[in-house]
């Protein structure tokens, strides 16, 4: 992808270029406002880009003639604030898209959802409403909700940032398992330790560009760019690495 995005005069993404291979996990790091979330929202077409192109499997998804709903069916997005639908049970949250968008029979969608809930240990919560779940449980349901669409690409937007520290682990474990299954993922994160473990590649965003990218050990351990060093120094100072 190669994108440029601005809100008014404020340029958020400035000719950013990033390629993600199949089964690859790319972690986006960078300060707040560096464009991580905006980039993910652009890929999911929730934000329109001003210039450039984004392609998925060789198809240009930013083509104005492309149907954004069809594109989003192939790309899952998980939000920092979970965004479960509060008026629906956990099960209904998960089966909404399979039934309404993919037109699968309700029974089949339910069965698939229950299989997933079983895997993540939330079977007992199937008929509960989201406000009865902990943050970590809600976020795991949100990830399952994205996965039942069988996306080609999963985007994770700081999925652990809103969680209490003791709940971060259960979500990260789930993401690690997904990597084991070959899911292609792009994740914006502040968890440097996790980025190091799970990512095949780390990309440091600064000023709307990918300033530096490479294997986690190199980018996080021995960065080339001065800005990256500064950023990581601040992270270490905050005790997050």
């Amino acid at each position: 992808m190669d994108v440029r995005k601005s809100f008014g005069d404020h340029v958020i993404l400035d000719g950013l270029t990033l390629d993600v291979a199949e089964h690859e996990v790319v972690a986006l790091i960078g300060a707040s406002g560096s464009g991580k979330s905006t980039l993910l929202r652009c890929v999911n077409l929730l934000e329109e880009i001003d210039d450039g192109t984004i392609t998925l499997d060789g198809d240009e998804i930013t083509d104005p003639r492309a149907n954004p709903d069809a594109v989003r069916q192939k790309i899952g997005l998980v939000f920092q604030s979970y965004n479960l639908f509060p008026h629906m049970t956990v099960l209904d949250n998960i089966t909404l898209a399979p039934v309404r968008v993919h037109k699968r029979p309700a029974a089949e969608a339910k069965e698939q959802a229950m299989t997933w809930l079983d895997r993540v240990g939330l079977t007992a919560k199937a008929s509960a409403y989201p406000d009865r779940l902990s943050g970590g449980q809600q976020q795991r349901v949100a990830i399952v909700r994205a996965l039942v669409n069988n996306p080609r690409l999963l985007l994770l937007d700081e999925v652990t940032s809103a969680l209490d520290p003791e709940l971060v682990g259960e979500v990260l474990t789930m993401i690690r398992d997904l990597k084991g299954e070959g899911m292609t993922m792009v994740l914006a994160t502040h968890e440097m330790g996790f980025a190091k473990q799970v990512a095949d590649r780390v990309a440091f965003l600064d000023g709307g560009k990918v300033l530096e990218q490479g294997p986690p050990a190199q980018v996080l351990g021995d960065p080339v760019e001065a800005r990256t060093r500064q950023f990581l120094a601040r992270i270490i100072e905050a005790g997050r690495l």
Binding site: Q73, I75, N83, F85, R100, V101
Partner: protein, 256 residues
Amino acid sequence: MLLAALSTAVVGTLLAVGITGAPGWDRVKTSFFDPDAAVEYLPEILTGLWLNIRLLVVCAALALTLGLVVAVLRTLRGPVFFPVRALATGYTYSFRGLPLIIVIYLYAFGIPGLRLQGTPDVLVLGAAAIIVTYGAYLAEVFRAGIESVHPSQIAAARSLGLSYRQAMRHVVLPQAVRRVAPPLLNDTVALQKDVGLISLAGPIDAIRAAQIGVAQDANFTPYIVAGVLFVLLALPLIGVTDWVTLRAARRQNAGS
């Protein structure tokens, strides 16, 4: 509890003494509270009330539908929908300002004046006036509800591949309607008495029937009878409104 009962009794007694002790009470009693007149006109008023009830059900259903449609139209984004938005906005602005009585007159007497083929009768025209006026209020209530649903909910729905329409239908509207159920019901309570204004256009509803009685005997008791019946009619709906409001408040407190 005892104190409350005592103070209520004192206030009640004072009120009763104040009114029945007034110099003109005997005159008022015979012209407003005449049991014979009440019994005589009750059947006609009840027949009229049946019309009010039917009107209420039809008007409430259609005004709610109209309000919901207009509210959704006002939320459509993009330049293509500008005329739709402008029309919907103009409608809610003008009909919330127009007194219902004037709308009823315009519809019931203005439209037949055009002498078009197939003009419906005044009952339908009067009902249409009520629906159009209340639709404007209800549209604003629905819109407030729709706007209270956080944009991240739409983002989440769209990210799953739902179309704007599906996101509205399955994610936004169910939450919006739940949140504004108390004010919607409250407007329906107001509607239940305002359907009585249809009497201005001629159909014999409870108020019109009472008016005929008043004109015949020069006694106001039939109005009191109709008034009491309207209050009785409203009580269940008011009860439901209070219950829903209480439940919504509890849920909000539990949620935060």
